[in-house]
């Protein structure tokens, strides 16, 4: 525990600097006093500066400066008159030692750039620091909170979230340890609006984690979910995830294996409706084709299953409670081609066919192309095209599975979509985008982007499917040295009976 007249914390250097009279209590009961203190959370190093004193049971030590570790045994005492001596945390007799400058490095920091200011900090080494109270300073004043838990553990599991993505998600740590974190999340998302969520993470380094959460919007229904992961040696990983609402539940378990750059996967999914799928897949590594292009083939075998039968359109649907299938997926990627005037081009192609254990197959062709070109030193132009064409084919039974609707399909605003009668299982998704990116100061802290996206799909009509036109603007900047903001505004035009429909995205970054 660290108490000081003033404590400043820097999130990128993980430096804690306390001044104006400091008291530090270590886990083993050692107490320290000094005029100022520096704690390097990267290395767990502590420097006590000015009238430094250590006390452990009846033993004491005093010096002009003392260097020690949060959980180590070595204690270096610096006396301005006599030099450096060394002892242990038992504070026995000190012996003369060499002057190690790195042990007594105390950073020169600018308090105006601090991420947090406080008067009391409780440190859990390699895990987190709780500040009580905490203030987030800006040039126009500080934002105070009674308590703030800053987690700096780097285990992959601390990044694992079972919460769905949101327009805005600000976690607030409640309790933490080197292997766990309980956090409250203030969230906002289009649709459900504001929500509070509680998430518990249990972590074992980069190798295993479990994360469980409940997301409770003020309007709408709560979502309970979990995700878990375990690395099984160098080749295998196991994972599981699931979610449940008042409308039903979903669960997934998976296993992956790597054989060099080739790999395999086994996935089982089940929902509370009784629908389940099993997929076993094998993939080749990316292999050279020509001119730098690569190809990859993936084979999949599995089944779909549903209590009462999958094919409700058939009179003997119960016979088809489980339908096996197998498929092939060929992917081709071009290299990045450098053309004149700084232009780059790239493209990908994807061809899939899935065969079912009754007269039915599903074909899909995907293609994408991207181009970039610098317009000015700090301005880049990007253009992209993505297309996907699929066909769900039931030989001699197409009209059974894709019948012409007896009444026109109504779009969300009530407009009849007569063109839907032409839909018989073949879909098209096409989109084109143009982006203009401006990065003044070579992108340091500030970036602006304007995008226009056009989609031409089938089926697609007035609110049914993707919006035909979308424009978005994004800005990333740092209004204060220790606070960054990424704000976005998106407009969907002439869609779903509205002239335009705006959306926000917003994120605060340290």
């Amino acid at each position: 525990m660290l108490d000081g007249g003033a404590i400043v914390f820097f999130s990128d250097t993980l430096a804690l600097v306390a001044r104006d009279g400091v008291t530090l209590t270590f886990a083993d009961g050692t107490r320290a006093h000094a005029d100022a203190a520096y704690i390097d959370l990267k290395s767990d190093r502590v420097v006590l500066a000015g009238h430094a004193r250590l006390a452990r049971r009846a033993a004491t030590a005093a010096a002009d400066a003392i260097a020690l570790d949060l959980d180590g045994d070595r204690v270096d005492l610096l006396d301005a008159a006599s030099g450096v001596s060394r002892t242990t945390r038992a504070l026995g007799a000190a012996t003369a030692a060499e002057f190690d400058a790195a042990r007594f490095a105390f950073p020169d920091v600018d308090d105006r750039n601090a991420f947090i200011k406080s008067k009391h900090a409780t440190i859990t080494p390699h895990a987190d620091v709780r500040f009580t109270p905490a203030s987030f300073p800006t040039s126009v004043g500080g934002v105070p909170v009674p308590s703030y838990l800053y987690t700096y553990a780097t285990g992959a599991g601390f990044a694992a979230s079972s919460l769905s993505g949101a327009t805005f998600d600000q976690p607030y740590g409640l309790w933490g340890s080197p292997t766990s974190l309980t956090a409250l999340h203030a969230r906002w998302d289009d649709g459900p609006g504001a929500a509070l969520a509680l998430q518990q993470q249990i972590v074992s380094g980069d190798d295993a984690y479990v994360s469980a959460s409940i997301d409770a919007p003020f309007r709408g229904y709560a979502v309970r979910s979990f995700t878990a992961y375990k690395r099984l040696g160098a080749r295998y990983t196991a994972s599981a995830d699931g979610s449940a609402t008042i409308y039903g539940s979903f669960a997934h378990a998976g296993l992956t294996a790597a054989f060099g750059l080739a790999g395999a996967a086994l996935d089982y999914r089940r929902s509370s409706t009784g629908f389940s799928t099993l997929d076993a897949s094998l993939r080749t590594p990316d292999r050279p084709l020509f001119g730098g292009a690569t190809w990859r083939l993936k084979g999949i075998v599995g089944f779909d299953s549903l209590r009462g039968g999958l094919l409700n359109q058939l009179p003997d649907a119960r016979r088809y409670a489980t339908v096996w299938r197998h498929g092939l997926d060929l992917q081709v990627a071009s290299p990045l081609i450098h053309a004149p005037l700084g232009t780059t081009l790239s493209s990908t192609f994807d061809l899939q066919r899935t065969w079912y254990a009754f007269p039915h197959h599903y074909d899909q062709l995907g293609a994408s192309a991207s181009a970039s070109r610098p317009l000015l030193r700090n301005v880049m132009l990007f253009a992209g095209y993505q297309g996907q064409w699929s066909s769900d084919v039931f030989p001699n039974a197409q009209t059974v599975f894709y019948p012409t609707p007896a009444t026109p399909l109504l779009t969300p605003d009530g407009t009849p979509y007569y063109g839907y009668t032409a839909f018989s299982g073949a879909r098209t998704f096409r989109s084109q985008n143009v982006d203009l990116q401006f990065t003044p100061n070579r992108g340091a802290s500030t970036a602006f982007r304007l995008s226009v996206i056009h989609t031409a799909d089938f089926p697609q009509f007035n609110g049914y499917g993707r919006p035909q036109w979308e424009a978005r603007a994004d800005a990333r900047f740092r209004p204060f040295p220790n606070v960054g903001i990424d704000v976005g505004r998106v407009y969907d035009f002439a869609w779903g009976g509205t002239r335009w429909q705006p959306r926000w995205s917003f994120a605060i970054t340290p």
């Binding site: 500066a49 000015g50 002057f99 950073p107 990065t439």
Partner: protein, 197 residues
């Protein structure tokens, strides 16, 4: 004589130091060594842990001064000035903001319209913490302004935890590290994404 001495000290080169302690005529400089104060100078203006400037007189004795932006780092103090010095000094100036560049190469199967983000412990690993700037279809770049000495652990995502990068074995990789050193650069090649096999 006194006026001449003051004028000489004022005109002298200033050094920016972080004092660890000041007792009697001894001034302990963080990461450097122990200086002797000039005659008639007291420790009253010295607050341990808070940066100040000092000037050295002809006898290499220190006089605390008001901090100015042109003060040289403590590492520039002549070693002869120290009455007690380590074998090598350490520069711990963390006031300076330096740029650290992260370059990310994404796999060809990355959806072309997707943004790429970095996620760090600074935001409790928010998967959409900082959006990277697109360089071309396969490359993204982010220039971070970090305090000198910073060590920021990060992972690459496409905006959600489900899209976090995976290594060639489809396992979660250890975090990458961006360093707060002048013109620091880290290159990351994403082998695969969590949601794309």
């Amino acid at each position: 004589m006194t006026h001449a001495l003051i004028a000489a000290v004022t005109a002298a080169i200033l050094f920016r130091i972080v004092p660890l302690a000041c007792e009697g005529d001894r001034l302990v400089v963080a990461g450097a060594g122990v200086l002797r104060l000039a005659a008639g100078t007291s420790c009253a203006a010295v607050s341990p842990g808070r940066a100040i400037a000092i000037a050295l007189d002809a006898d290499n004795r220190a006089t605390p001064q008001k901090l100015t932006t042109d003060a040289l780092p403590a590492a520039k103090i002549p070693r002869a000035a120290y009455v007690l010095a380590p074998a090598a000094a350490t520069d711990a100036d963390e006031t300076q903001l330096v740029t650290s560049t992260i370059d990310v190469t994404v796999p060809p199967r990355t959806p072309p319209g997707d943004d790429v983000y970095i996620s760090t412990e600074r935001s409790s690993w928010s998967p959409s913490e900082v959006r990277m700037d697109r360089v071309d279809a396969r490359h993204f770049r982010l220039v971070l302004q970090l305090h000198r000495g910073a060590r920021v652990a990060f992972r690459v995502t496409r905006g959600s935890f489900g899209t976090t990068e995976r290594n060639a074995a489809r396992a979660l990789p250890a975090a990458h590290v961006a360093l707060g050193e002048p013109d620091a650069h880290v290159a990351v090649v994403v082998a695969a994404w969590g949601d794309i096999d």
